[in-house]
């Protein structure tokens, strides 16, 4: 996953999240629960954590 893909994923997840916050209905709840949250989790796990581990290894912390 590159920077661009991760950024697009986060932006889509945030748009869904904000839509749900502004108008909490069943369809927005469905999109948040089954799209936004998994997307955010995926990006965090597979991109940011990987980047963090890579950085820590680069600095000989890990």
């Amino acid at each position: 996953m590159n920077h661009h893909t991760a950024a697009v994923g986060v932006i889509i997840a945030m748009l869904i999240t904000i839509a749900y916050v502004l108008d909490p209905g069943p369809y927005a709840a469905f999109a948040f629960a089954f799209a936004a949250l998994p997307l955010l989790a995926f990006v965090i796990v597979f991109y940011y954590l990987r980047e963090m581990i890579r950085e820590l290894r680069h600095r000989d912390v890990l």
Binding site: M14, T17, Y20, V21, P24, P26, F30, F32
Partner: protein, 181 residues
């Protein structure tokens, strides 16, 4: 000196974290409210009957007399204890999935038999409950869910027939629910 770009970036991260926190709170806590249940049209018959002052069904009597002050759907339908909360969340996600993908048929019904323990959580041990000798005589079948509380105390909600399209009561039960409190 911190650049404007970094300040905007930090603000954006703050707003994003706040939005995710608010949305998660709404999804996991806000959905306990009765008004959240009533957002799906299939739940309207339950809500309309519950707030109907003329109804003598169990849910309406509990509501009318203020026996359950808030989160009426959640208080009766969620099993008590940690496992009950987890099961409720899983059920809620399943309901969302079924509702939004329209993979359900009207009238809807319970997947599992209603748990008598949810009634007993409030009623067991109260003077009125203890005074009724039948409760003691039937303690085993009540505890094992073999005999539901509603078999003696009447239905909690409108029958499947009344909630079915085409029934004379259907249109009235399906109007938008107005919760006074």
């Amino acid at each position: 000196m911190v650049s404007l770009f970094k300040i905007i970036g930090l603000l954006a991260i703050g707003v994003a974290m706040a939005a995710v926190t608010l949305a998660s709170h709404e999804l996991f806590v806000g959905t306990k409210e009765t008004s959240a249940c009533m957002q799906c049209h299939v739940m309207r018959p339950y809500g309309n009957d519950m707030v109907d002052p003329e109804s003598n069904l169990l849910a309406a009597r509990h509501y009318r007399n203020g026996w359950i002050h808030e989160k009426q759907c959640y208080q009766c339908h969620v099993d008590y204890g940690f496992a009950g909360s987890v099961t409720a969340k899983m059920d809620g996600l399943r309901h969302l999935l079924r509702y939004t993908t329209r993979t359900y048929t009207e009238p809807i019904g319970l997947v599992h038999p209603f748990n008598n323990q949810n009634c007993l959580h409030c009623h067991a041990g109260t003077p009125k409950y203890v005074a009724e000798s039948m409760h003691d005589m039937m303690a085993d079948v009540i505890a094992s869910n073999e005999t539901p509380c509603t078999s003696c105390h009447g239905d909690s909600h409108p029958s499947r027939e009344r909630r079915s399209p085409g029934h004379a009561d259907y249109e009235a039960l399906m109007r938008a629910v107005e919760l006074p409190r």
